[in-house]
């Protein structure tokens, strides 16, 4: 799967045709992106799970229309944001409005300011969508290296079968490959804060209703 056509396109085609293992691979690759997008709305764990489940269930029925490398992450981001906004909107209408009490969302947005939050969310989307395009071994290594507290190289070597001395160079190659992914190149090709195909249209809607 390292060479030739785009691995995501291949996985989408296979899962559409009934290959369940290809579907599992799509789920493994894109769960972090989905988790990251929903997480930015700061919903409850139960709401987060309902949205994630709904997005996967819908994706199963929409796969056939996503046979282009950019289409899958774009669809996941757009759909999960739309569903998350539905919860935010439901909450707004069921929680009695008290003009003196700051809402949970307002408080959350004031943590660092909406612009910083938005840029950071867009960066995370691009990085995780790029990560999803990497071959499994490179992806697995980067995820293990990101653990906090950090794992020792010996432990990473044990889990991945990569010799300790190869971990550094493999990380370097994985990062270089990340820079070549469709998601990554798309992100760098547009000015910061300006939502593109992988952009934060719904995230913007949160901070500036009516300008979406």
């Amino acid at each position: 799967m390292d060479d030739g056509g785009n691995p995501i396109t291949w996985l989408v085609d296979a899962a559409t045709a009934g290959d369940e293992l290809a579907w599992q691979e799509i789920v493994n690759r894109y769960s972090p992106l989905l988790a990251s997008v929903i997480r930015s709305f700061r919903l409850s764990p139960a709401e987060t799970q309902d949205i994630a489940q709904t997005v996967w269930l819908r994706l199963v029925e929409h796969l056939a229309g996503l046979r282009e490398p950019r289409a899958l992450p774009t669809w996941i981001i757009t759909t999960s944001k739309r569903e998350a906004l539905r919860y935010v909107s439901n909450r707004r209408r069921t929680v009695p409005h008290d003009p003196l009490a700051p809402s949970r969302l307002d408080t959350a947005a004031e943590d660092v300011g909406p612009d910083v939050d938005l840029l950071r969310a867009e960066q995370h989307e691009a990085l995780l969508a790029g990560l999803a395009e990497l071959p499994p071994r490179q992806r697995e290594l980067l995820i293990l290296l990101a653990e906090d507290p950090p794992l020792s190289y010996a432990e990473i070597s044990r889990r991945t079968g990569t010799p300790v001395g190869s971990i550094g160079p493999t990380r370097g190659r994985a990062l270089e490959r990340l820079r070549q992914t469709v998601a990554f190149r798309d992100f760098l090709a547009r000015p910061p804060g300006q939502a593109g195909p992988l952009g934060s249209a719904a995230g913007r809607g949160l901070d500036q209703p009516g300008q979406g």
Binding site: G18, A52, Q53, V60, R93, V95, L175, L178
Partner: protein, 152 residues
């Protein structure tokens, strides 16, 4: 044009690690839902897929007027057949359009499927609280339809 910080391995890896760590929370159950979702794949070319065409929870509401008991109203449309749903905390009532009898399967991911019938006027109801994603399969004399999944 200045070089983006991500051209530096350390900067790129630091940001990537942040993204991975922040997404790690709840990741296990998100993956499980994903793996389970494939079992609901529909392979039926004659089936009409009805998308959510109206959802009262997305309509603008005046800030001052919010009543907790308000029902959520949804419409799923797939010409020539549509379904309207009204969801309250303890039941779901629905209407098949055009009105007429129908067999309905209420599919709830992770739960049993419930079978109900719409009467001659196309009216049906499910007298129980439901939460989590749900969809309906409706079969009338002339058409079969499945709605999009919606979380309740």
């Amino acid at each position: 044009m200045t070089e983006h910080p991500w051209h530096d391995d350390q900067r790129l890896f630091a940001d990537l690690s942040d993204a991975i760590r922040e997404a790690a929370d709840g990741l296990g159950s998100i993956g499980e839902f994903g793996r389970g979702a494939y079992a609901w794949r529909t392979i039926d070319e004659d089936l009409l897929v009805a998308s959510l065409s109206f959802d009262s929870s997305l309509e603008p509401v005046p800030e001052q007027r919010s009543s907790p008991a308000e029902a959520r109203v949804m419409a799923f449309t797939a010409a020539p057949l549509s379904v309207e749903l009204e969801v309250t905390p303890d039941r779901i009532v629905g209407q098949i359009i055009p009105p007429g009898p129908a067999e309905i399967r209420v599919e709830m991911a992770g739960e049993v499927t419930v079978r109900i019938e719409a009467d001659d006027a196309g009216f049906f109801q499910l007298s129980r609280a439901v939460r989590g994603p749900l969809r309906l399969r409706c079969e009338t004399a002339s058409a079969r339809l499945v709605t999009e999944w919606v979380p309740l």
